[in-house]
Assembly symmetry: C2
Homo-oligomer: 201 residues x 2
């Protein structure tokens, strides 16, 4: 199937894929938009391999970074006025754009499917509970064709073989990378690590 | 001053240092007892350097691993019957022996000084809030003379120069070590890392 012509049913987004692409393109740089298209392509591949619906996969991939280029002021105001736990405030937009990005997507794109929103919510942090769609977006974001970091080929190979192993690999190497940079680590990422890597029940 | 003859005042423990040593020796292997003496020695050095009271330092060092060789069953029963958050249960005795060890120390040794108990509580996990005594025991446990891991000489050198940098160094390399082993990470250790390494307020 030619995924570029994927027909949306209208169940999740009131418009065509082309219309959603235009909306997404309008809120980000060309470079980020290329990344988003790369995530959709990688996510389609994983969805076909592991059995996820393509329409939900497409929409989650296309909107996952929708709030990434909002200003800090706008995101902070949004977090303060919404029901989102203010504890995320010190973590910056690397964390905000998923968890609080869901608010932006709901308001500006009228997307309210909880599976899609949850995949956006956890696409950077991961979570101790992850659906198939959550895992697909989390991994696709890491391995899409524009990524060039040293371990990406190994990550791609693992994703071909076992999606849970790919989640585990990504968590380990994301944490190593954050620690090497002395960067903040979001507590939920450690819960995810304890579950998916350390096997905690 | 000859620290082996350090006189206890009776304020924190109802007995002499020799009596406490005997009690500690009776609940652990010879190897662990040597480690405990090494921690006391390193902690005395740090206490003199950074200005902590030697008596509290001695007692905290001597009792820090007091519960390390209790059986899992005994520790689990203790956690279940006490006010300790049951969320620590999946983390095993590496975590229990500090947090729940305090219960054992209070009951069996009648030590109730909160500064000493807190240093025991956080000696493995660290914490986003650490007193001078907490830092001394945390670092002394890592650098004492019986430790032989590759980075220990660097850790010792840093501890001579700046105690906070030594806490930071230990947190970074402890997390790296846990991740390399795919071992569980206690959430409070990430809070400590976010504070002492990533500079989160």
């Amino acid at each position: 199937m030619e995924k570029k012509n994927l027909m949306y049913s209208g169940k999740y987004f009131q418009g065509t894929r082309e219309e959603l692409l235009k909306r997404v393109n309008s809120v980000m740089s060309e470079k980020r938009f290329r990344h988003v298209l790369g995530v959709e392509k990688a996510a389609f591949h994983l969805a076909e391999k592991y059995g996820e619906e393509l329409e939900k996969t497409s929409i989650a991939a296309l909107v996952h970074d929708y709030a990434k280029e909002k200003s800090d002021d706008e995101m902070i105001a949004l977090i303060r006025e919404s029901a989102i736990d203010n504890k995320i405030l010190p973590f910056g937009n690397n964390i905000w754009h998923g968890i609080a990005g869901v608010e932006v997507i709901t308001r500006e794109l009228a997307i309210d499917n909880e599976e899609i929103l949850q995949a956006v919510r956890v696409h950077t942090t991961a979570s101790s509970q992850m659906s198939l769609l959550d895992k697909i977006i989390f991994v696709a974001d890491y391995i899409e064709e524009n990524r060039t970091f040293p371990l990406v080929e190994e990550a791609r190979k693992i994703a071909e073989e076992n999606l849970d192993f790919a989640v585990k690999f990504e968590l380990i190497h994301t944490l190593e990378h954050l620690i090497a940079q002395n960067a903040k680590i979001y507590p939920q990422t450690i819960e995810a690590y304890n579950t998916w890597v350390a096997g905690m029940k």
